[in-house]
Amino acid sequence: MVATMPTIPDRPASWNCASVENLAERTLDGFLRSVERRALRMAELATLNRDEALDVVQDAMLGFVRHYAAKPAADWAPLFYRVLDSRLHDWHRRRQVRGRWLTAWLYGDADDAIDAIAQAADANDPGPLLRLAGSQAARALDVALAKLPLRQRQAFLLRVWEGFDVATTAATMRCSDGSVKTHLSRALAALRRELEDYA
């Protein structure tokens, strides 16, 4: 889903310094409200821990406000997710430095291990999630997404969930359009395989 820009409230009767500041703050507040839940879910899928995910989201909000709040509101969504992506990479690096084998297993660079073209799914196939019902499907999807390498998961979430186009996703992830397509293709193949195994 594309993050919807908050509508700018009506101009107040007395147009003074405080009102201008309030308007800017309310617009920023509305934007952060519109992205915070999805940001938390993204962080949670990366960290597998809600507390750590909340910390990452708070860092992302602070970083976004510090560096990009003055940018046009139309650019905020990709910029916010760029900061979030950066914070997730930082978190991932810290975990690797700590040498937790589980993290290395879950987030190791498996990008090269999959022949994505050979496993590309038929777009008209209803797919593996239909065989799973309700909470089982949600759980299966969470597990499958958590197993993806960070870049593949981000490409999937930004392209499929946020609805960003390839160029915006590439700018958000700071990589080329081609890399986004490759990451997404591999993510789709891996998710499909994982969900079919789950069913």
């Binding site: 500041e21 999805r38 406000v65 999630l129 789709l188």
Partner: protein, 119 residues
């Protein structure tokens, strides 16, 4: 048309639901995180910056309008336009005069015809 495989629509719906159904404690913490970020923004924005920016923008706009108005309504500009128009009229008149002088014989004959009583 959806460019992704069909099953991704269901995945998207599941993700939407998971984001929508967050518990109250988590929402409260998200709210707190947001308020901290906004408080930082309040500290970072100098209070004089916004009114100063508005005043500067207004002054620039007024200046631009004044300059434009001055140029549009300038007597020199008006005279120049009038002079150009007058020159064009004179040129037309002169061209007409040339025709007039070329046909002097014809006008003289016409005059003579008018003065001679019909025979």
């Amino acid at each position: 048309m959806n460019e992704h495989p069909q099953w991704t629509s269901q995945a998207k719906a599941l993700l939407d639901a998971s984001a929508h159904d967050l518990d109250a404690a988590t929402l409260s913490r998200l709210n707190r995180a947001r308020q901290i970020a906004l408080a930082q923004q309040r500290k970072a924005t100098p209070r004089w910056f916004i009114p100063a920016g508005l005043v500067s923008a207004s002054a620039l706009l007024l200046l631009a309008v004044a300059v434009w108005h001055e140029r549009a309504g300038s007597p020199h500009t008006h005279n120049a336009v009038t002079a150009v128009a007058a020159t064009a009229d004179d040129a037309d008149a002169l061209a007409d005069d040339d025709d007039f002088y070329a046909d002097l014989d014809f006008y003289a004959w016409l005059d003579a015809q008018d003065q001679d009583p019909p025979g």
